[in-house]
Symmetry: C2
Subunit: 185 residues, 2 copies
């Protein structure tokens, strides 16, 4: 069993109107699949943090959202403690990265960068790995989810349902024909 350290999501280039839902989906995927927080740059949007805080309150956990203006400087700082993995359709194959990563005794800290439409060369250069989840255009939300899913060393065995978010008000009991929402004990 390898140990998992901290994973953070870095969302490059948020655009206020165009990306409001996509960036929120990136944050919620990060939260649901065990990342610690999402850092984003581009246009600042307090609603993203507000939405995520609402979800934390209802469903638990303390997933954080942080805005940075000087994103190059932030990535340079992060690179000292995190392996930078940039998800791009132009990158090397995800499976190769995952196998290499899972051979290590510790995965270390990982910062997964997902971009909006146009990601500058700086990101490709600073990344330790530029990784593709298919070489087809699709969705940064999907790419992020699949990368986080496969980074989990137990992902074939692990029950998603076991995942425990503390301090939430609500808890969902799996149901094949409707919705069962219970107060969290």
């Amino acid at each position: 069993m390898i140990s998992m350290n901290q994973i953070i999501v870095f969302r490059y280039g948020h655009r206020l109107e165009r990306d409001k839902r996509i960036t929120t989906h990136c944050a919620l995927v990060g939260r649901a699949f065990s990342a610690e927080k999402m850092i984003y740059c581009g246009q600042e949007d307090p609603n993203i943090q507000k939405n995520v805080e609402g979800i934390n309150k209802r469903f638990g956990g303390n997933f954080a959202v942080e805005y940075v203006k000087n994103w190059q400087k932030k990535l340079e700082e992060l690179k000292k403690e995190y392996t930078i993995v940039h998800l791009t359709m132009y990158g090397l194959e995800l499976n190769d990265f995952i196998s290499e990563n899972n051979k290590k005794k510790s995965t270390g800290n990982i910062c997964i960068v997902v971009g909006s439409e146009k990601v500058p060369p700086f990101v490709y250069q600073i990344a330790d790995y530029n990784v593709s989840v298919t070489n087809q255009p699709h969705s940064e939300v999907a790419a992020l989810a699949i990368c986080l899913d496969r980074l989990n060393p137990d992902y074939l065995k692990k029950s998603f349902v076991d995942k425990h978010f503390k301090n939430g008000l609500l808890c969902i009991k799996p149901n094949n024909k409707g919705k069962t929402v219970l107060p969290n004990k």
Copy 2:
């Protein structure tokens, strides 16, 4: 080895302004992860089909987008030939569905339903399986991608890069530090 039959994506309740990017991402995820087409209902939006056709032209394949007005009737028709799998945070665990499905000699045809914010009880009732990709709120785009990824019986071995879309103009060669886009041969 089980045989894979047709998979289609059914996007419930498209809202013209709010969902335009999310629904397009659903279509592109369907395309990249081997579904045949996406059917959607709600507000009709010709841009979704236009965007997907542009991607098909450049990167190949013939993923189709179809709008239906009477979605209940369409789901009833589909149920005759497809197993209806509705992805919802309230559903039973994905892994249980996947293990059950992979025991079969043939997976048959599968219609994966993803909703927008509020999905009516009809969908929960008509679905053969209501399945959760975590019981946490996140993203229909992510849930769809993970379900399609795990439905692929070869998903641990299969190279995403091998995936071949015929008739595209362009083809991407995986690169660890930049973009390599070649004419498709």
